[in-house]
């Protein structure tokens, strides 16, 4: 009989090892799934993990890596702050959409004024504010009426998607677009374009913001009193109250911060890689960032690495779709497996496997 026994102290070795083992197990299980779908498992894994970095078309894919990793890291950093404190914002996707809408609306309000020094910073502020505002809805409902922030934030994603569609078809639609849905292209408007800072690298302002967020979160969690209180609340809410932490303030801070960062990610995306508000603007970064946050052990540096890895599976997955004809759903299942294995293996950090029976205590 196999039993789980709680460890006296969580194993540090396992804490660092589980993400690596989870990635390996995902490759094995994913390979089996791809084989069942009729693709060569080894070729599939190579197409996803190796070719985008070192293959024939790597010059194109490498740039895509930062483009995809930027929003994932930015959102995951914010989510991790809340997750550490036991505050579960599942609706980053909605906050991401609202950030994009607010930022784009500012840009379009000034169109065609040429004043990048004013308009771009205003867009950044508006983007963060949009996400913040959307996250405050579950925040205030939780602190005032003790509603469940998981449900409220998740359901607000679908509300945000409806608003997005309405914006793309109505208020923000391009008046010169011959009636097609979607806004003007912000990348082609000099004052709002979030273009590559170094050609071919995929490095835009959103990636810079993500790196700043990593450093900021690192300092916050390891040095700052607020970060200490966040960790304390997650570890032991009652000890946190004894320490003097105001739980409501902490909930609003964590939700507000994750909302603002998700909003920023949305703004940088709409002004850069995506270029316009359209019905299908959001592609699930807000949900994938949840996996990134956990894969990175809720640690800023871990999230940086996990974000890059996850971006790789996105790009490699697209390549696998194109060259091997794998369905998009198979790639999503592949990403989901990663979280599944990670959470399953996490048990080993806190518990020890014992095989055989033990005398009763």
């Amino acid at each position: 009989m196999v039993r789980l026994e709680k460890r006296a102290a969580p194993s540090r070795v396992w804490a660092y090892l589980t993400p690596v083992v989870a990635v390996l197990l995902t490759m094995v299980a994913g390979g089996l799934m791809f084989a069942a779908l009729g693709a060569d498992p080894l070729v599939s894994i190579r197409t996803i993990f190796w070719d985008p970095l070192f293959g024939e078309f790597a010059f194109y894919y490498r740039g895509q890596l930062l483009v995809k990793a930027g929003p994932l890291i930015l959102i995951a950093i914010g989510l991790a702050l809340g997750f550490k404190a036991g505050i579960w914002n599942i609706g980053a996707e909605g906050q991401y959409i609202m950030g994009a809408i607010f930022g784009a609306a500012v840009a379009l309000a000034f169109y065609p004024l040429a004043a990048r020094w004013l308009i771009f910073p205003l867009m950044v502020i508006a983007g963060a504010f949009g996400g913040f505002l959307w996250a405050m809805i579950p925040g205030i409902l939780r602190t005032r009426f003790n509603t469940n922030e998981i449900l409220v934030s998740l359901l607000l994603v679908y509300v945000a998607e409806q608003i997005l569609a309405w914006m793309a078809l109505g208020p923000l639609r391009n008046p010169d677009g011959a009636g097609f849905p979607g806004s003007r292209n912000l990348r082609q408007y000099e004052s709002s374009a979030n273009s590559e800072l170094i050609a071919g690298w995929g490095l835009h302002w959103g990636v810079v913001a993500a790196l700043i967020a990593v450093i900021f979160a690192y300092v916050l969690l390891s040095k700052h009193l607020m970060g200490f209180h966040i960790r304390l609340t997650g570890e032991s809410p009652r000890a946190a109250r004894f320490a003097g932490v105001n739980p409501n303030r902490l909930i609003l801070f964590c939700l507000g911060m994750s909302g603002a960062l998700a909003g920023l990610a949305g703004l940088f995306e709409v002004a850069g890689p995506s270029g316009q508000i359209s019905i299908d603007f959001n592609v699930g970064y807000g949900f994938t960032a949840i996996i990134v946050a956990f894969l990175g052990r809720l640690h800023p540096i871990g999230i940086l690495l996990a974000g890059l890895l996850m971006a790789l599976t996105y790009i490699g997955g697209e390549a696998a779709q194109a060259s091997l004809g794998l369905p998009a759903a198979a790639i999503q299942a592949f990403q989901g497996m990663l979280l599944f294995f990670l959470l399953a293996l996490d048990v080993l950090t806190n518990f020890r496997l014992r095989i055989g029976r033990e005398a009763r205590v």
Binding site: A9, P10, K223, F228, E235, A239, R241, F242, G244
Partner: protein
């Protein structure tokens, strides 16, 4: 005459610790036998082996002249051994008869059972109404349910684990009369306790355990409590000494404070008023669950009240949180070590910062200086002799007593003007408990005011200047400790909690 129950060379080891090492003793028929020892001496492991909950590594037990190797409590009960646990296993939502039936091998129909409960409980001076809900009973009455449940099985040996820890002195008296009656009918009793006076008044024979070994046997009536204590601890105990000094001005005052409890099973505080003076220890006694946690929360700032209900040096602070109160010199240490006073998975230095960052100057411009936190943690570890590999150890890896020394030391070393502690020496060995009490007394000599909430009456008698008791959320008027008799204390604690006795 051969003894009723005999154990020979019983040994049980757990990884890293030998809980019982070659323990032997015997209990005669109709004898009240005391098992005496400090926390961690191995008393619990020993009785668990007798009751079939733990299997010994080696050694033998004989019961009624036959080999006795219980594989489960079920077998122990069938052999005629019953046990009353320190912590009750009763269901609040069921009535007395239903609770009794749940603990029996094959309960009779409810009507017969109720009649039997009445009969047995009255025969032994423990009146119980079988139809009452257990949730409405006091701690003493709940214990009666457990005892009656055991008596219905006609045990030949009754094991009682720290039975008086939840009772008022009056309730203790009733219990002892019951036990003496059982003894006179030939029932043997194994009585586990660390309270010396109780053992001296009740028991015929005592076996003393220290660190898992039998270190002595005695006839408790023939030796002094002091000698018993020395055997139990292994050294002469230093009794905390208070330097004589006068109590000063009022440091902390509660004024007609009424607060609903935050938890569903808590006790609301009802019109509590008190004045705590500089240089005194005010002891607050009472059976657990009579508002102790709520009182601590109100003083630590975890539970806010109207501003004027709590005053520190004449300043209303009822609406202030824990951090503001610490800044003003009011510190607190809650009863629950893991998960309230300390975060289990965080290191000792992080836990040192938990309540100490402000007064120990660890935070500059909102950034924590972890070096200072480590320094403070090692100071606590050194001064209070906390046994731990280092400041980076997680709090939950420490033993209960060591963590208790750490969380109490953390508050004492911050030089409080007013310190509130709940159960300061709970689970701590006698030497360390005495050191903690001495540290509390030393604080008062420096002019600080100390409020000690405790269920250990001996502790409160030893260190408090004045004594008051919490009973169902009400606080009695404080009295100078040296004028108090044990009867008066018992009445302050709620007397027998409305339980009538049938002892003539």
């Amino acid at each position: 005459m051969t003894p009723l129950f005999q154990i020979e060379g019983l040994t049980k080891a757990y990884p890293g610790v030998v809980a019982n090492d070659d323990v032997s003793f015997s209990i005669g028929k109709g004898e009240v036998h005391a098992l005496l020892g400090e926390n961690g001496a191995g008393k619990s492991t020993l009785v668990k082996m007798i009751y079939g909950l733990v299997r010994p590594d080696s050694g033998t037990m004989r019961f009624e002249d036959a080999s006795y190797t219980p594989a489960s409590p079920h077998e122990a009960r069938q052999a005629g051994i019953a046990m009353v646990f320190q912590h009750f296993s009763l269901f609040d939502a069921l009535d007395v008869a239903e609770n009794v039936a749940l603990g029996m091998e094959d309960p009779p129909p409810k009507k017969t059972l109720a009649a039997r409960i009445r009969e047995v409980s009255e025969a032994y001076g423990l009146p119980l109404n079988p139809a009452r809900l257990v949730g409405d009973l006091s701690a003493g009455e709940r214990q009666r349910v457990e005892i009656v449940r055991c008596l219905l099985q006609d045990p030949k040996l009754l094991i009682m684990d720290e039975p008086t820890s939840v009772l008022t002195p009056q309730e203790v008296k009733i219990l002892f009369e019951t036990l003496r009656k059982l003894q006179s009918e030939g029932t043997s009793i194994l009585y586990i306790s660390h309270k010396l006076e109780e053992i001296r008044s009740l028991c015929d024979h005592a076996t003393i355990l220290r660190l898992g070994k039998v270190v002595g046997e005695a006839k408790p009536r023939d030796v002094s409590a002091r000698d018993l204590a020395a055997m139990m601890v292994g050294a002469e105990l230093k009794v905390p000494q208070a330097q004589p000094h006068e109590s000063g001005a009022v440091a902390l005052a509660l004024k007609h404070l009424s607060v609903a409890s935050a938890s569903a099973f808590g006790t609301p505080l009802r019109d509590v008023s008190l004045e705590l003076r500089k240089g005194e220890v005010l002891g607050i006694g009472g059976v657990a669950g009579n508002g102790q946690d709520e009182l601590l929360a109100v003083l630590s700032g975890e539970q806010r009240t109207t501003p004027a209900a709590v005053e520190l040096d004449g300043t209303p602070i009822g609406a202030l949180g824990p951090v503001e109160r610490r800044a003003m010199g009011l510190l607190a240490a809650p009863e629950e070590r893991l998960g309230h006073a300390a975060a289990p998975d965080m290191s000792l230095y992080e836990n040192a910062a938990l309540s100490g960052w402000l007064r120990k100057g660890m935070v500059r411009g909102k950034l924590i200086d972890w070096k200072k936190a480590r320094g403070f943690a090692s100071e606590i570890i050194n001064v209070f002799d906390v046994r731990t590999p280092g400041t980076g150890t997680a709090a939950r890896a420490l033993s209960g007593g060591n963590l208790q020394k750490f969380v109490i030391g953390r508050e004492i070393l911050q030089d409080p003007d007013v310190l509130v502690v709940n159960q300061p020496t709970w689970g701590v060995d006698a030497a360390a408990a005495s050191a903690i009490r001495q540290a509390l007394l030393d604080l008062t000599a420096k002019g600080a005011a100390v409020l000690v909430i405790s269920q250990d009456l001996d502790e409160l008698m030893e260190i408090s200047t004045r004594f008051a008791a919490l009973n169902e959320g009400r606080l009695s008027a404080p009295q100078p400790t040296r004028d108090l008799t044990i009867e008066a204390i018992g009445l302050m604690m709620g007397g027998a909690h409305g339980m009538e006795t049938a002892h003539g």
